[in-house]
Amino acid sequence: MMSVIIETPAKPRTRKQANLEKYGWLFMRISGPLLVVLVFTHLVVNLVVGDGIKAIDFAFVAGKWADPFWQVWDLAMLWLALIHGTNGMRTIVNDYTEKTKVRLALGTTLWAVCGLLILLGTLVIFTFDPCPAGANPDLLASFCPAQ
Amino acid sequence: MPQQETADSNITYHTFDVLIVGAGGAGMRAAIEAGADAKVGVISKLFPTRSHTGAAQGGMAAALANVEEDSWEWHTFDTVKGGDYLVDQDAAEILAKESVQAVIDLENMGLPFNRTPEGKIDQRRFGGHTRDHGKAPVRRSCYAADRTGHMILQTLYQNCVKLGIDFYNEFYVLDLVMNDGKPAGVVAYELATGDIHVFSSKSIVFATGGFGKIYKTTSNAHTLTGDGVAIAFRRGIPLEDMEFYQFHPTGLAGLGILLSEAARGEGGILRNASGERFMERYAPTIKDLAPRDMVARAMANEVREGRGAGPNKDYVLLDLTHLEPAVIDAKLPDITEFARTYLGVEPYTEPVPVFPTAHYAMGGIPTNIKAEVLSDNDTVIPGLYAAGECACVSVHGANRLGTNSLLDINVFGKRAGQYSVEYAKTAKQVPMPANAADDVIAMIEKVRKSKGKEKIAQLRKELQDSMDKNAQVFRTEETLQEAIEKIQELRGRYENIAIQDQGKRFNTDLLEAIELGFLLDLAEVTVVACRERRESRGAHLREDYPDRDDKKFMVHSMVYQQDKVQKKTGTNMKIGWKPVVVTNYQPMERKY
């Protein structure tokens, strides 16, 4: 991950465009501590307590999302982590790309992927049916009527 | 923007109203003064903030009277007395009077001086500065920790950036072009490319600093090779008071790196091997804060009489251990770090080994109080100015007081700026001869093509060793004769040098050879002047003539270059004498 040696700055600094760097920087620092709480708890709940990873399956997820508390929790985590991660990736891309075009292309791709995944994740959380009709009842959570 | 008019082959031509050679304190102060009113260019062989003004530590004198009663008259008196009465008193009065404004100018430009509790510029003691004509030390030195010179240099450069001054950095001026006795401009060599540049200008200010590299043990930078002084000399301008070269008492032993007098100003004490505070014997009243010539001589004497410290008994000790570490940290951080870095000595708890080091040239290009260069005792060369360490006004006489040089560069740098711009407003450009650069090109090509056997560094080392041995704190007819012979031998060998780097880009090999040529010239002038002054005064101590001789030598020396070898000096140099300007203070014995 060490940077490439560039003996020559690619171009003289182009001065002064309006920019959102300050806000990006602040966002990283605000989302960071929130993510510590969200992600670390997520890890403990999913991987440490009870049977840990062994216990994870459809029923486990359904059990969690039956509770709006975990719905909101995971939703916050989804949004924050994706925006945080994408913004972090953007920083890295800016560091190592020199051509404006490449930078723009990669940046756009990153945000597009980020947007899609946020959309997808949000939809999943809100449209999730813990007890889908016709599913194998063995796989469902204990509270499902089908069981 | 560069004023580029024509460019043939590798020569580029530029035109200015005021051209300043040297971007140290003196050069940049002049540039700031002239910059607002004229087209000003500054040429420097170093990036401006690398100039040696930045090494100055202790402070800058001015009778602000911020912390105790003081007056410019007292300051004048101290300067005159410190200079062993060889000071031109009209110039010293200007120096002292304009000092207050000079400090305020710097403060207003942004210099971060240390402050008193009331928020005024703080002041501290320094050698030779006294209240009421020698009654007690006075706090006259304005300072910014122990990096006053650094702050001056940075502040001046910052203001040049603000004014948008044109700099030509890493350009070596190698010649002054005179046309019919009048200055037309200079020829410079661009380090990066090896190209030649010819600068025409109505007025030209030399501010190229000192030439401490004629000595081996020196506080001066590798680049202080006296180029400007030597160039002026080669173009027929005499050099004044070259025998007066100051040795600073407290150089780190063996290295010459300076520990500012501020160390003693803050209470540091010099001791010999047995721990005795020996300055009590030499200057009972102000002891360790006596002027530099006296302290350096006392130190050299202690060592000579076997009271030196260390395994070879060849240095004395600067004792700071009784000072609070907090005081040391606040007021002397840099110099104590030098002791730690370079000698591995912890100044909080151990005394620091010190010995005199070559430090400052009192002599140089003769000027009057308007910074105009003189071609003899009183003829002005119109349009040519000099300021700073390369010039001799003379405000330092036979021995400069600490903190008076940073003052000198500001007061006379400013004056050089003012008068040069005033001159440029009405003067006509002296026509630049068509072949202006020929001499420089010939000199460079000669050096570049030299395929001899002698190594530059070897010659330089032999020169410096000889100067340290023969023309340092103590001098006699014999040692000086030896030095002259050595220099003449080296001159012969200089014709037979070897240059390894044949390239054009950044050819520092070539430039070191050219700089050695300047050093040889200046060493010779120094030694000739030393020999002709058969008395002891200030920094010049002739063991064979130990007393001051006001009847014969209350005069400045003026050394001129001649075409032929002169009988009297045994060199191609002629010596003349110039009266000292005395206004208020008649010479008296110097006691402290």
């Binding site: - | 170093l46 690398r50 090494a55 430009m109």
Partner: protein, 244 residues
Amino acid sequence: MANAAAPVIDSFTVTLIIRRFNPEVDSEPKWVDYDVEMYGTDRVLDALHKIKWEQDGSLTFRRSCAHGVCGSDAMRINGRNRLACKTLIKDLDISQPIYVEPIKGLPVEKDLIVDMNPFYQAYKDINPFLIASDKPTKERLQSPEDRARYDDTTKCILCAACTTSCPVFWTDGQYFGPAAIVNAHRFIFDSRDEGAELRIDILNDKEGVWRCRTTFNCTEACPRGIEVTKAIAEVKQAILRGRA
């Protein structure tokens, strides 16, 4: 104690491996070995001089003051940025060769000399001069506390050791770099200065303080002991809060 100035350590031989490049003849940089005899108080600058003066006059580097105050000779010695004149050879591991190469991220001109102009430009871009509208006839007053506020950053000698040690600067050379920020700090926190807003605006640039990733290389490289990363953090806070 007091015998420190005497040569405690006798002479020893070290190998310097110097990255050399002369665009007039070389197509790319090469490493060249030199053996030199040195003494205990010698510095890397002395070794370079010895090579230049006795072995190869074409070795090229900048230097002036030789005691760490002019900022001419920042270079990479054994992988770290330092001033050659402030690095004692005996403090390095002399059983190994000493690697010397130019500072990184600025165009190499010849051997250890780099083109400093991009660096100076960043410095000039932050308006490195006092901006004040008053026209005092005497000195301005400033309390010792106000003076102490920016003391650390007045020490900068523009050696570029910090900026060229910064991994972010290496990437594309666009980042203003720590030295420029240090010099902005020197004025932003000077109670006499009125240009803080302007400077803050400049450093709020895309290539300004926000690119700093707090890697501390600058702080560790600074030969003047300036707490560079701290100064940068203070400028970031000044930008966030709208003033010092």
